[in-house]
């Protein structure tokens, strides 16, 4: 056999070689695999002999084996019934396809259950990759963790717009409603679990709003923001300035109308959560009761039960010297990053980056994404923030990265969120580096390990674009452009399992479980339990150990589980 291919092929010569299509790759691999028995020497007999394991067979055993071969002979013959079915036209190939589909699904699901043993082999065998470098360092932790860090690091905050410093008067409020079915499902399944198709669908959509209030706890319309897509489907803005507790009441009633407060079972409670970060040391004593009453009234008016929790964190020292606007922006990032990036870290960012991140998140929060996709995007943004602050090393050369990208695009069909319907669009999107900003938790079924490659390229994109403020702003800008088109790009963004849908909107929730109690003896609605204010609105001698208002608990409603 002749061969002109030089071993030291130059880049030019290589680029002149024809690309290998997926089909051709499969063919070559299949040829190699079929020749594997020639390449890998058969040493079994020698091994067995060396180990002294008997390899001879007694005449009796030989007869037994030969007889069993005769019995199995039929399995080598054609399936007569199948042939008849094919000839008479009663053969239904779809059944086979369905079987294959089921098998594929079982296999895929199996991969999720069976741990990734092969990866562990490498990890535990002591073989280390020479050039492998950790890309990201944790900067997470809650507010408290950060407060501790702040004692060691003196932060110099030098924001341009510091004129309207409102130290001691700004409060940032995050308000979230969690439907009862989702609250209940959290006890038995994780956020990433697959919905049991036989049971009623779980409403995993949790509308969230974030707003800033002034010294009198008044929220201005310019400081009201939706925290996610579900919230944007209910109320995107407010028309007048309003007291925060009244705003909560009105939003809660809208949540009921839109089906996010459920009345399916008296033993499953919705959850209403309010988190307040404030510079007002008296916020809790001043406003707790009005929040409590607002929520309780809204629930009673709609005959809904809910658990209610409110936490108030005094941030006087952390917000010292910040303008009201900046308090809002930083807190907005804090909540959008699921409280995994602490506030002191966010304060280290320049105003253009804070603004860009806020604009980006606002656009994505209005985009039509699944909760999982929103989560994954924020996860990647958090990673980019870590990389920007820690300055990580770029893991690949441009050439290597291009090859990596090429192989991902070639195998785009194996990405967990890709199906026949969106393959073409996703493949085109993969050309855009910003599209790779997806966090690790998105990974679902990943037959060919393509998401691993995807994540590696994402790490490269992050590292490459976080070397300085200019490159980072450019990446955020590209991502923002993507966000603007996201509403029209349903199904293109990663959802992890390619069968999830973004929130279908209020109309899909109404009529299922948000339209009034179904059970007899449901009662009057109200707060089920919650943190009570000091000395509580009903006092310690109310006779209600769990702090429930006497009128809120129906006498004949079942006890919660």
């Amino acid at each position: 056999m002749k061969s002109k291919q030089s071993l030291n092929t130059t880049d030019e010569e290589l680029s002149s070689l024809e690309e290998v299509t997926e089909q051709e790759e499969k063919k070559i691999l299949s040829s190699l695999r079929s020749e594997a028995y020639q390449f890998v020497p058969d040493k079994l007999l020698s091994i067995l002999k060396e180990c002294g394991i008997c390899t001879e067979i007694s005449p009796a055993d030989e007869k037994l084996v030969l007889d069993s071969f005769k019995l199995d002979e039929a399995s080598f013959q054609k399936d007569a019934l199948l042939e008849i079915k094919k000839e008479t036209g009663t053969y239904v190939p779809e059944l086979d396809k369905e079987t294959q589909k089921t098998q594929k699904r079982i296999r895929k699901e199996g991969r999720r259950i069976v741990p990734d043993v092969e990866r562990a082999v490498m990890a535990e065998s002591g073989i280390k990759r020479r050039n492998r470098k950790p890309l990201f360092f944790g900067i997470g932790g809650g507010v408290l963790g950060l407060a501790a860090a702040a004692t060691a690091v003196v932060l110099v905050i030098n924001f341009a717009n510091n004129a309207s410093s409102t130290t001691g008067t700004a409060s940032y409020i995050s308000f979230t409603v969690t439907p009862a079915s989702y609250s209940a499902s959290k006890n038995v399944a994780s956020y990433y679990s697959i919905t049991d198709e036989n049971s009623a669908p779980i409403n995993r959509n949790t509308p969230t709003w974030n707003f800033l209030s002034d010294k009198d706890n008044i929220v201005s319309k310019s400081h009201f923001r939706t925290g996610n897509y579900s919230a944007s489907l209910i109320t995107e803005s407010i028309t007048d300035d309003v007291a925060a507790p009244s705003l909560v009441k009105s939003l809660l009633k809208s949540c009921y109308s839109a089906g996010y407060l459920e009345t399916r079972s008296a033993s499953q409670y919705n959850n209403v959560n309010i988190q307040v970060f404030t510079t007002d040391p008296n916020y809790k004593s001043n406003y707790y009761e009005s929040y409590f009453n607002s929520v309780d009234e809204a629930l009673k008016e709609t005959l809904v039960y809910a658990n209610f929790a409110i936490t108030v964190t005094d941030m006087s020292s952390e917000y010292s010297g910040l303008s009201t606007d900046m308090v809002g922006k930083i807190n907005n990032l804090y909540f959008n990053f699921d409280e995994k990036v602490n506030i002191d870290t966010l304060k280290q960012l320049s105003e253009p980056i804070i603004d860009s991140l806020n604009e980006l998140l606002a656009n994505y929060n209005r985009a039509k994404l699944t909760p999982r996709a929103e989560h994954a995007l924020k996860d990647a943004l958090r990673m980019s923030l870590e990389a920007y602050l820690n300055k990580v090393e770029i893991p690949y050369t441009e050439e290597e990265a291009a090859a990596l990208k090429e192989s991902i695009i070639a195998k785009a069909g194996s990405l967990p969120w890709v199906n026949e319907g969106n393959l073409e669009k996703v493949s085109a999107s993969l050309e855009n580096d910003a599209y790779y900003m997806i966090g690790d938790k998105i990974a679902g079924f990943d037959d060919d390990g393509v998401f691993e490659l995807f994540a590696d390229y994402r790490n490269y994109v992050i590292a490459k674009n976080t070397v300085n403020e200019e490159t980072y702003l450019s990446l955020l800008g590209d991502l923002n452009e993507l966000a603007k088109s996201a509403r029209e790009m349903t199904g293109i963004f990663a959802d992890g399992y390619n069968n999830e849908k973004p929130d279908q909107g209020p109309e899909s929730h109404i009529g299922q479980r948000g339209d009034g109690p179904k059970e007899e003896g449901w009662g009057h609605g109200g707060i089920h339990e919650g943190e009570m204010p000091p000395d509580g609105p009903y006092g310690d001698d109310s006779g209600h150990p769990d702090g429930e208002p006497p009128s809120s608990k129906p006498s004949d409603s079942p006890e919660p589980k």
Partner: protein, 187 residues
């Protein structure tokens, strides 16, 4: 599924069922062989080390702890066998594949009749050959190959892609001869 089978076979071997060694061999020999070959850089030596690996596996099965990773355990034995073989010959593990090329190709493969592998052996560099064999025959993922060969993942995918391009070109160039050999082999 294969991991489960391997775990079961390991447990059976530990319980005294010598025949389980055959099952272990069938499940892992391709992985073990393509793992030790780049370490030893010698086809015949890799054969010997593979045999040693399974003999050692049999002799030290009592040290295998049930519930731990059987593939990991076996590959550790293989790696140690390779290191001790190289020590015997005063050689060191090297990942520099730039020299020592056999006139027949990357390795002297003896008289094996495998047209595609023979061609790959001839036209690919040692690194490319190892990457392709580990991926196609050893069933390793690119990431694992990167770990074993101490290369960045991007380099592995890049070299893999280049190797396929070269191989495709070589097959096309030698089409007539290749097809003849393939037919001879399968007829």
């Amino acid at each position: 599924m294969e991991d489960e089978k391997l775990e079961q076979a390991m447990c059976a071997l530990k319980a005294g069922d010598g025949n389980a060694l055959g099952e272990i061999y069938n499940l892992t020999s391709k992985k073990v062989f393509t793992f030790v070959l780049p370490l030893l850089r010698d086809y015949q030596l890799a054969e010997d080390v593979m045999q040693d690996t399974y003999v050692t596996c049999y002799k030290s099965i009592n040290t295998y702890k049930e519930g731990t990773n059987p593939k990991n355990w076996l590959l550790t034995i293989a790696k140690n066998s390779a290191i001790s073989e190289l020590k015997k010959r005063n050689r060191e593990i090297s990942y520099d594949f730039s020299d020592d090329r056999h006139p027949d190709g990357v390795y002297y493969l003896g008289d094996i009749e495998s047209p595609t592998i023979t061609l790959a052996n001839k036209v690919l560099s040692e690194e490319e050959f190892n990457i392709v064999m580990m991926y196609a025959i050893g069933d390793y993922k690119h990431r694992e190959i990167a770990d074993i060969l101490h290369l960045p993942l991007g380099t592995v995918t890049w070299k893999y892609a280049n190797a396929l391009k070269k191989l495709k070109a070589a097959i096309e160039e030698n089409q007539t001869e290749y097809e003849k050999q393939t037919k001879l082999k399968y007829n």
